[in-house]
Chain length 225, copies 4
């Protein structure tokens, strides 16, 4: 079932690892089939390097497993909440990529300090609120997805397709698997640059006209250099 | 047309990527043919890894496309302004290399703190002024080239062949394609070292006699070690 | 003798190097055979890249060499003290991996600031006390093992399977060779992130409920993503 | 002439590059033949990646070329001064390796903060004094060697086989080519760790007993792990 998407998700997992965003077994990517609305996602406890397309799991939006012999990643219910909250999202990735996770651990959003950021993300990358004890105790992964949705009540999730889960790490999405991988790579790159930019100049800021220009330039194709 | 230059520009694109200066599709390099004055440049939306010599575009100094089936990079008009302002320049590269971009985002020039810098760049690497709203709204890429030229009204662009466009990233040039790639690699390396040098010692400074010596030593060949 | 374990230890040495945790000849890993209680460990003065399974040494818990033509690593007696103090430990690794060593040199423990840490280590990674002159003068390596054991008098060494030897570097352990390599990789990764997190936000802290959740989630399999 | 040494110096040049210590054409290594006292050194303007054993130059201690069709590296006279000042030195390397150069540019010595440092270098790595204008104007490279020798008037150059030339970069040496490459790799590694250690704890210090222990342990073999 959904063999084409499985191969794409499989390749995207390799891409995340190849771009240095995944260490050990930390990280997973999923995609939504536009016809059935089913989700293809990585099984639990599998290093990306060992994953094969047949190992991928197909489930519905309630998390019911439709195909696959392994258990899905424990982050499945976070992915599902993101798909439910943001209907335009066709793919979701979760990594512990270093610099995005540093901002997540610090509980700080990633400020938009340059055109590289604006080419992919219109606003600062938001950080979720602290989870309440009862949200952690029960339905932890689902509640992680809900606080992600909460972080976008005032923002369009498609113009700024990433979030930092506090004390945890980034989730990234896009309108395609390919775009989601690109957004994950771009997020890590702009996070690192933002960190060092703030060390050099705590007062630096980006011209809002310049942000608008680069957000517009990407229409019809991301970062058209 | 200009097949030899196309192969060189093609290879230079690979070199930029191999040296870690290009991520995703961020970055481009062009060259000027000394006989015709035509420019060879990368098409838009092409990862360096996918580029082939035949994909390159030939245009004249006004940006009129003479050969090529793709649209040129949106940065074409910035490249053209640099060629117009600095007639000795035979090649231009634009990257979002990490450390040079950090200085660009911080709006800070890269100070000349060591012989590695002086072997390639006589002065601090300047940062352009903030663009005005009307410069961003219309002819943005052309105006980016103009503020680059403005940054060199008091400096010889050939002894310090690089600039940081504020909130954006570096542009680098040279008297040949090979020299331009070298300058882009050197810029990133000295930017990183300058960043950390300032963290260790905010008062550090380089002997101007030593700068002169290394600027002279490179006559007849860059960094003759 | 113990050929199967030798091959595993040999491969684990390669894994440490491949993950960037070992430079030059700095680093070694050992394993305990559950039947005999014998230890398999790396010989002295051998770069991991040159090591072959047959070069590995077998000794008993008193350090008596049972097999092997080379001398064992000088760190052997530190490994043995860890096995004696923590009976559940089946494998021990010592590296000078960069970020863990930075914390060791600074004499600072690595704080638990995110789920990536909690997935592998329940508590902060402790740092040993300063060694006394007489502990350095005689039985230095054995005493290094003893101050490691001292650092766990109030902590379960299996829920936080790593320590920083002050002014020196990390020792890491686990219930298997594979788990020990994973713990060494995870330690270095969380050490780097902790360093930068503290630079961004010196007051950051992790919800203890979240730590407990991730410590529990790993039961039955580490970091089940 | 000296074909065996040429092959070793050739390989050592590759090793420096492979260990990330050499970028572009920055860096060179030489060796002294114990029978003739002749020096084998890299030619000028050659990237390590392009160098072949036959390209290497043989000269005497006065810099008179005995064999070789290329000009020697402009740093030749610095190498020669080091061989003259420190008779036990059999090989010298010069790089612009990043972290050692950061300390050189900051004009700061690299403090001995851990056993990794003490395993290779007994004392802090010294930084040379500022050169006087007349030392730069005439015989610059020779004078660079002289201020290196000056930095060791109170220190044994063999127990601390490296120096930082202020505003420039490191020179490293050893009793063999192999040892010199190891020292260059170790220098860069301990420089980076010292930088970050000081960021975490500006008051950190290493037990002098521990330094002595590790200096002694290396007798008969460097870092006998």
């Amino acid at each position: 079932m959904l063999e084409g998407i499985k191969i794409e998700v499989y390749k995207a997992n390799q891409e995340l690892a190849k771009n240095g965003l995944v260490t050990l077994r930390w990280g997973n990517i999923s995609a939504k089939d536009e016809n059935t609305g089913y989700i293809v996602i990585k099984p639990r406890r599998t290093a990306s390097a060992l994953l094969r397309p047949d190992d991928l799991i197909v489930c519905d939006m309630d998390g019911k497993i439709l195909e696959g012999t392994h258990a899905p990643t424990s982050d499945l219910f976070t992915h599902l909440e993101i798909y439910k909250a943001f209907p335009q999202v066709m793919s979701v990735a979760h990594t512990h990529s270093k610099w995005a996770t540093v901002f997540a651990q610090a509980g700080k959003s990633i400020p938009n300090l340059g055109t590289a950021h604006a080419d992919y993300f219109k606003y600062d990358i938001p950080v979720t609120r602290t989870m309440r004890p009862e949200e952690i105790a029960k339905d932890y992964e689902k509640n992680t997805g809900r606080i992600i949705a909460d972080a976008f009540t005032l923002k369009d999730p498609m113009t700024t397709p990433a979030v930092l889960v506090k004390s945890h790490g980034p989730f990234v999405w896009g309108q395609s698997i390919h775009e989601t991988v690109d957004n994950a790579v771009a997020l890590e790159y702009v996070a690192e640059m933002a960190f060092y930019t703030l060390r050099l100049n705590t007062d630096t800021d980006m011209n809002t006209y310049l942000i608008e220009k680069h957000v517009q330039r990407k229409q019809g194709g991301r970062n058209e250099q």
